[in-house]
């Protein structure tokens, strides 16, 4: 079971798209998995022949569980595991004893907190008193709100609750672990929108570009030039990413959100980005995303402009180290060349991880992005 996002702990295998004996090649879709957020098509990363399916449809298994075995074409005698390279299979209950400090274990017992549900923030991932108390606090709050009897929830409500919990856990982890700093700047988009207007003049309705595509393009371009914003914090160290896979936060009907990636966004033209964005939003909202899109975007963009918010100060999506937020594009008064005029403006924010970068660096990135946004034609070159 692949990890389709930092917040995913288990998934339900909905459907096999292959059967034993099928020949598959890298990139083929072999299964559909339901995370708590969406249905995701799982791609295979190796060529070979499907040998055995180990997990039945409809079964919920933890991340890392072997789903199937694969006979690789390169060496028939060697077995490769599919679809990703998870840890070796474990029989029965979790093989490794979690590291829990004595005082944390005692507090968990007292407060009725399930230790196995906690993320350890101590040395070597040990669960500490603070980890227990964090959970204990929210559990108690939840208890206070709704005592005893809970109505039998529908499947949709279940999923809604699971998603809320997953988002909550991830965002809480982000705010607990990542020392966020925030920068914001307001950008005059008149040049960019003028360019957009001209570009759209000759296009049929279905191919018209939206300002969002320009904003994504400028962000991807700036991220490429700012290695300290693009990558992952893993094992207490920053790992810059080679490519820019731009995560796009998509809010779902009925609540919740996902942030799948537009891969290699820095190398896509505005047209290609527009097409990718349309496709991604549509599929995210019907709940069918591909596993490769969920594999750790390198930086995420959130755009709340459609909903009217002027400024968004976002929460970084672990293990990423930066998040760019856009508010609504709107006409507002703006001083330019000593004159006050009415211009289309957008406020862009950067949430940066202080373990990796400082405000000065963040400022340069914002300025860089601003330049691309103001002059898309320069970016297009």
């Amino acid at each position: 079971m692949p990890s389709l996002g930092a917040d995913m702990e288990s998934g339900t295998l909905l459907e096999w798209r292959v059967k034993p004996g099928d020949v598959v090649k890298r990139g083929d879709i072999v299964a559909v998995v339901d995370t708590s957020k969406a249905e995701i098509e799982v791609e295979i990363f190796q060529d070979g022949t499907v040998e055995q399916l180990l997990v039945a449809e409809g079964t919920r298994v933890p991340v890392g569980t072997v789903l199937a075995t694969l006979q690789t074409t390169s060496d028939e005698s060697e077995r490769a595991q599919a679809p990703s390279a998870p840890p070796p299979p474990t029989e029965g209950p979790s093989a490794e004893r979690p590291r829990v400090s004595p005082v944390a274990r005692r507090a968990a017992e007292r407060l009725g907190v399930d230790i196995t549900s906690l993320h350890g923030s101590g040395p070597n991932g040990a669960i500490t008193l603070a980890d227990v108390q964090g959970t204990a606090g929210s559990t108690q709050a939840a208890r206070a709100v709704k005592p005893d009897e809970a109505p039998a929830p529908s499947v949709a409500a279940d999923r809604q609750a699971a998603m809320r919990q997953a988002i909550g856990a991830l965002m809480a982890r982000s705010k607990k672990e990542i020392p966020h700093y925030y920068l914001q700047s307001t950008i005059d988009l008149s040049g960019a929108l003028e360019w957009l207007g001209k570009a759209n003049e000759t296009r049929p309705m279905s191919e018209r570009l939206l300002p969002a595509a320009l904003l994504l393009s400028a962000t991807a371009k700036a991220a490429k030039e700012a290695p300290a914003m693009n990558g992952f914090w893993r094992s207490d160290a920053f790992q810059p990413a080679e490519h820019v896979h731009l995560g796009v936060a998509v809010s779902l009907r009925g609540g919740g959100l996902v942030a799948p990636a537009i891969r290699d966004a820095d190398r896509k033209s505005v047209d290609e980005l527009m097409a990718s964005l349309n496709d991604l939003v549509r599929r995210a909202r019907v709940g069918v995303l591909r596993s490769s899109e969920m594999f750790d975007p390198t930086i995420t963009v959130t755009n709340l402009g459609d909903l009217g918010a002027e400024v968004v100060h976002g929460v970084i999506y672990p293990p990423q180290v930066a998040l760019v937020g856009f508010g609504a594009v709107g006409e507002r008064p703006w001083a330019h060349s000593g004159m006050l005029g009415v211009r289309p403006l957008v406020t862009v924010t950067l949430a940066g991880d202080h373990r990796v970068s400082d405000g000065a660096e963040g400022s340069r990135v914002l300025a860089l992005g601003g330049r691309y946004r103001q002059r898309p034609e320069e970016r297009e070159k």
Binding site: P102, V103, A104, G122, P123, A130, K176, E177
Partner: protein, 332 residues
């Protein structure tokens, strides 16, 4: 009497305590190598010889076993001797007297004799006097029942620990860390308490406890300030009394902070830090949020070369690193 404050060095504070004791009680005398005409090899008794004379300030031959033994005999016979041994390294020459006589006679005589003796000695490194003058062997002596061990880390303790030590009917060893002699502080001329009963909190903090004694107390305080600037509040516990250990105060502090780093200038293997760690494990295991950590000297004879000596000793940054490692990636 009106209580006022005075600024004084650790060295002068000890001298004042010796003068005061000798003026108050004629049974008290000071004995040791070069304590008289020379004024003590660390200058502690400078001027006292001129004031009180050779009867009360007695220079001895270079034979620790002989003059510690003489001190034990004098104490048994009713005197209140203060014996100065130049460094804890040299007290090994008198270990037979300290352990087999001073520490045992009350027990072996069924209480017919007691040994009201005070032995002062310098301890610790940091002065480039190499491997025969620099060690911290308090832990060895803290092993011995029948002894009380004091480690004044502050000027106030240097000034006021001697009187209760002399009042104790059993042998008391006072360890003066040589790097502290020049420390200066403002202390009250009449202290509120004169206790040698246990440990003292030198700084409060909610996140972890730094346990130190003698020369490592100032280092721990420096580390605590640095940790504070990084958002971690450390409590600094000064043990003061190395035997018997003030287990109650140690466990109380650990129960508050759930984390402990023990800072000890001795080698870690078989050390006082090991003993404190074991007591915490025995008495506060269920309060711990992380394994107890120890910061000690490198397990080598203390080097002569200045940079190597500093590298061998526990430094503030070593304490900060141990604390950060204990707290983990997520902070507190």
């Amino acid at each position: 009497m009106r209580s006022t404050a005075t600024t004084i060095t650790y060295r002068d504070a000890i001298r004042e305590s010796i003068r005061e004791a000798m003026l108050a009680d004629e049974r008290v005398f000071l004995m040791g190598e070069d304590v008289g005409a020379y004024g003590g090899c660390f200058g502690v008794s400078r001027g006292v010889f001129e004031e009180l004379g050779p009867e009360r300030i007695r220079d001895t031959p270079m034979s620790e076993s002989a003059f510690v033994g003489a001190g034990i005999g004098a104490a048994m016979a009713g005197a209140r001797p203060i014996v100065e041994v130049m460094t804890v390294n040299f007290c090994l020459l008198a270990l037979d007297q300290i352990m087999n006589n001073a520490a045992t006679l009350s027990h072996m005589s069924g209480g017919q004799f007691c040994v009201p003796l005070v032995i002062r000695m310098a301890t610790g490194a940091g002065r480039q006097v190499a491997a025969q003058h620099s060690h911290s062997l308090e832990g060895w002596l803290a092993h011995i029942p029948g002894l009380k061990l004091l480690a004044p880390a502050t000027v106030q303790d240097a000034r006021y620990m001697l009187a209760p030590a002399l009042a104790d009917p059993n042998p008391v060893l006072i360890f003066e860390h040589a790097s502290l002699y020049n420390a200066e502080d403002q202390i009250p001329t009449t202290p509120a308490t004169l206790d040698i009963g246990g440990a003292a909190l030198r700084r409060t903090g909610a996140d972890l406890t730094l346990i130190a004694y003698g020369g490592t107390v100032p280092t721990a305080l420096v580390a605590a300030e640095q940790l504070s600037s990084e958002g971690v509040e450390a409590e600094v516990l000064d043990l003061r009394v190395l035997r018997p250990l003030d287990e109650h105060t140690i466990l109380e502090s650990v129960a508050r902070t759930h984390r402990a780093v023990i800072v000890d200038e001795a080698w870690r293997s078989g050390s006082l830090a090991a003993e404190v760690s074991a007591r915490i494990m025995e008495g506060a295991f269920y309060e711990l949020d992380a394994p107890v950590a120890r910061v000690g000297s490198a397990e080598v004879p203390i080097p002569y070369a200045g940079h190597l000596e500093q590298a061998a000793l526990p430094q503030a940054q070593d304490i900060v690193a141990a604390a950060n490692e204990m707290i983990g990636a997520a902070g507190v």
